[in-house]
């Protein structure tokens, strides 16, 4: 297996201004460049307004004051793909604005890097503004429209039944914790958001939030730093940044597991299990816990796939995933209502077995190789590499992908058993077909 790291595949990190870090991944393999700007903040009272702000920023700028104008500019930049949105990283909310655009193989390619970065700066720092009652405000028409769209989006999240079941279980497992809140916020908070509030929030965020800039392209650190300073970084940044909470926080499962059943007019039931363990991400026990989840349900080699699907034919999908910053494991499957009790018992039995250290050697080996494959393949995908870097850095982890892989390879069944002894079921959520 090729695990040797090539110099140009290693991201370089530099602080290029107060509170601004540039992470450069230099490569000439891709036909497009990719730049992601991420602001970290707490996931709390302003989560909803931050999510709406993302939509407003993506709607218009002073220079491109309509959706058409902004869309046309993206078209002129050879279909530059702009994404502004919010995400969740442990107990933090991320406000992300990213652009993927061709910087080679097109006419006048030499100007494309600067033009793309300038558009990204415009979107971040120069939204369409006005004054309302003497106060600065983002465009009220756009804000009102995006509030309506945000409510539609929040309600529409229930359409994805598997996702809805997963979020519902998570909300119970992380009750009273930021991670229990969706990154898009709450419908109840939308009405209270005003155009003036959003202008204030925007001004504060772009002045005082720590900024992480990820750039993937064919240029060296000196050129990248110069280009970012000249074309992307906006003026008016404060010298002292606002603080952000730690990404991770862990706790044990509730004393008695909770079972939630919600009826819906669906054909297939969705069953989700939330387990918790007070195990921090990035530690040796944390890596063992990831292995536990992987061997249980990380792929076709996992116990869930092999037993629940292949042996018993109870489901089409069954998987488990470890949430590194929060010390929790979610297990999910879709089952026929008649088979739900059998599937539930079987999944809990398998989880107990794996947590007890009963790891098939072939499954453990396959999990390690699967991680090696995914880690190695990160270098072929700018977005995947940036996502990986972003989480590791937020967790305060600075080891290379290969060093992480070495940690995974060192996990033993005994280490899995030790973390398994601390793992307990917190919540079971069942989206039950009506009438079942």
């Amino acid at each position: 297996m090729a695990t040797a790291t090539r110099a140009r595949d290693v991201p370089v990190t530099r602080t290029i201004a107060p509170g601004v870090r540039l992470h450069l991944l230099r490569t000439n393999r891709f036909t497009t460049s990719y730049c992601r700007v991420a602001l970290h903040r707490d996931l709390g009272a302003e989560a909803t307004s931050t999510a709406i702000l993302a939509q407003v920023l993506q709607s218009a700028t002073r220079r491109h004051p309509t959706r058409e104008a902004l869309g046309h500019r993206l078209g002129d930049l050879y279909g530059a793909a702009l994404h502004v949105g919010v995400g969740k990283l442990g107990d933090r909310q991320l406000l992300v604005g990213a652009l993927d655009w061709p910087t080679a193989h097109v006419p006048r390619a030499g100007r494309m890097l600067a033009q793309g970065l300038e558009l990204l700066r415009e979107v971040w720092s120069d939204p369409l503004r006005t004054t309302v009652g003497g106060a600065e405000a983002l465009d009220p028409d756009i804000v009102e429209r995006e509030k309506v769209n945000h409510i539609r989006g929040l309600r529409g999240m229930t359409n994805d039944k598997a996702g809805f079941a997963l979020r519902s279980c998570l909300a119970s497992v992380c009750r009273n914790e930021p991670y229990g809140l969706d990154a898009q916020g709450r419908e109840a908070d939308v009405a209270g958001v005003s155009a003036v509030d959003l202008a204030t929030l925007h001004r504060d965020l772009i002045r005082r939030s720590p900024i992480e800039i990820f750039l993937v392209g064919d240029l060296g650190l000196r050129d990248a730093t110069a280009a970012i300073r000249k074309h992307l970084l906006w003026s008016g940044r404060a010298t002292r940044m606002r603080g952000v909470p730690p990404v991770g926080s862990v706790r044990a499962a509730r004393a008695r597991p909770r079972r939630i059943v919600k009826d819906d007019a669906v054909t297939q039931g969705k069953l989700v299990f939330g387990f918790r363990a007070p195990i921090r991400g990035g530690t040796a026990p944390g890596v063992a816990a990831e292995t536990l989840a992987g061997v249980l349900g990380g792929g076709s080699y996992g116990r869930l796939f092999r037993v629940v699907r292949e042996e018993h034919g109870l489901c089409y999908y069954a998987s488990a995933g470890w949430h590194r910053p929060k010390g929790l494991m979610l297990v999910q499957t879709g089952v026929d209502a008649a088979n739900e009790p059998a599937a539930r018992r079987l999944i809990l039995k398998l989880a107990r077995e794996v947590a007890g250290g009963a790891l098939e050697a072939s499954a453990l080996d396959a999990y390690r190789k699967d991680v090696a494959h995914r880690i190695d393949a990160l270098r072929d995908s700018p977005r995947a590499m940036v996502g990986w870097l972003q989480e590791r850095m937020a967790l305060g982890l600075h080891e290379s992908p290969d060093a992480y892989l070495d940690q995974v390879r060192r996990v033993t069944p005994a280490a899995v058993r030790r973390v398994g002894s601390r793992l307990a079921l917190d919540t079971t959520f069942y989206l039950r077909p009506e009438g079942a």
Binding site: T32, T66, Y316, G334, S362, D376
Partner: protein, 448 residues
């Protein structure tokens, strides 16, 4: 541009031109070198001794290699060549069972080597694939060997019905899937594109090992298969392995589908489905005629894609005003699909109120057809498609899927760009007028 949006170019005869050879370097023995015109990237193509069509895109420096073996057999193939009618969903069922071997599940072999494997079935083809960052050749041999035979016994087939039954149940709750197939069933009276790729629990019930064997024998022969490989691989080794593994197999036949007999009109003007969703979803289908021959088909497909991008892309002619009016949100999208014997345009949106949206959409379509696209809109759209096309070459996966589309269509790498460049506002206006006056149907999902 989407990987399926490839455009035609004359098949070069004989050796590549000096110009091409100079740019691309010498092709490995047995291969013909083809050059993608925008990136100048080299793709090589060969025919293995067994008849398998082999495409390789060398991608130096990439960690991941990706290989995909495809049979030109999909859900639209409803009969065996001897006329025997097949149960709906059997192509997908066969896909599931191909992973079973006398030694166990092929997934285990891939997993033991750290490779990731999967498969999928479409209307026209079924593909088996893996990606790996090591042991590429062993995995390729496994992929090729897996296609050789099907090992299905009664207990395994019956167990698979349970698994597939749950897969079908999952799609029953999927609004996107239900809306799409609702539209196809409204648009088409007889064409097999109206059949759900997975079939139904009832249609797969009679499937047994014998019919799976007959279907495999008919459609999984080397002459009907395409291998596409991308990554930091040696094309000559790929071809040598294909010859080694498939060289002694019965060559078989290329599955050339006859056009289905489909009336011009739609089956139903509207299909309504109740589902557990937050608000209505409305799909409009415009039944078009496909282009003639590979080149004409791809040219028309590109035109359709450009039209729907101009109208429904971000800031588009119809998208922007409907968005401003609050009639739609980001869920509005338009697209165009075409195969050799069917083509349609599709507009989809989640809406608060069905009728005001439908009225506004039809009025906007009529106005767009009257005025036609402008040269500036066409040029901007051309640029967007060039950007999308360039992104294809960022990933081994998308590159392999792009080559597959070329192979299935029978066209060359440069054709898409040529078709894109030759699109004109006048031609697009004619096409839009045809579409707007074409038979149309609606698929409407309503909250339960």
């Amino acid at each position: 541009m989407p990987t399926t949006n490839v455009s035609p170019q004359k098949q070069p005869k004989g050796k590549p031109s000096k110009r091409v050879a100079k740019r691309a370097g010498r092709a490995p023995a047995g291969f013909k070198t083809l050059v993608e015109p925008l990136t100048k990237r080299r793709v090589v193509r060969a025919r293995a001794r067994s008849g398998v069509e082999v495409w390789v895109a060398p991608m130096p420096g990439y960690r991941k290699s990706y290989a995909m073996m495809t049979t030109r057999y999909g859900s639209m193939d409803t009969h065996l060549p001897d006329g025997e009618e097949l149960p709906d969903g059997i192509a997908h069922f066969l896909e599931h069972k191909m992973f079973q071997t006398p030694e166990g599940d092929v997934f285990d072999l891939y997993a033991a080597r750290g490779a990731s494997a999967n498969a999928f079935t479409t209307f026209t083809h079924t593909s088996y694939l893996f990606s790996a960052t090591s042991r590429f050749e062993e995995n390729l041999i496994t992929l090729l060997e897996t296609m050789d035979d099907i090992h299905a016994d009664d207990p395994g087939v019956e167990r698979e019905k349970g698994i597939i039954g749950q897969e079908l149940a999952m799609y029953e709750d999927d609004a996107g899937w239900r809306g799409y197939f609702g539209l196809l069933q409204a648009l088409y009276r007889r064409h097999p594109v109206r059949i759900d790729i997975g079939g139904t629990a009832a249609s797969i019930a009679p499937i047994d090992p014998a019919i799976l064997q007959r279907t495999h024998a008919a459609y999984y022969s080397p002459a009907n298969m395409v291998l596409t490989v991308s990554g930091d691989v040696d094309p000559a080794r790929v071809l040598a392995l294909v010859d080694q593994v498939t060289g002694t197999r019965r060559r078989g036949h290329h599955n050339r589908r006859r056009a289905a007999e489909e009336p011009k009109g739609v089956a139903q003007r509207e299909v309504r489905t109740k589902l557990s969703i937050s608000r209505p979803q409305v799909l409009l289908g415009l039944k078009d005629r496909p282009g003639r021959g590979p080149q004409g088909r791809v040219r028309r497909r590109i035109q359709g894609a450009i039209l729907f991008e101009i109208l429904f892309g971000d800031g588009g002619r119809i998208q922007a005003p409907l968005y401003h009016q609050g009639l739609v949100d980001d869920s509005l999208s338009g697209g165009y699909e075409a195969e050799h014997d069917y083509a349609f345009g599709l507009v989809s949106a989640e809406v608060d109120q069905i009728e005001p949206y439908r009225k506004a959409l039809l009025a906007a379509l009529r106005a767009a057809a009257r005025d036609g696209p402008t040269d500036a809109e066409v040029e901007r759209c051309r640029r967007r498609f060039i950007g999308r096309h360039l992104r294809v070459f960022n990933q081994p996966e998308s590159t392999a899927h792009w080559m597959l589309a070329l192979a299935l269509e029978g066209v060359e790498p440069g054709a898409a760009v040529d078709a894109l460049r030759s699109a004109t506002a006048a031609g697009l206006r004619r096409h839009l007028r045809e579409l707007v006056s074409a038979p149309r149907a609606w698929s409407i999902l309503e909250p339960r």
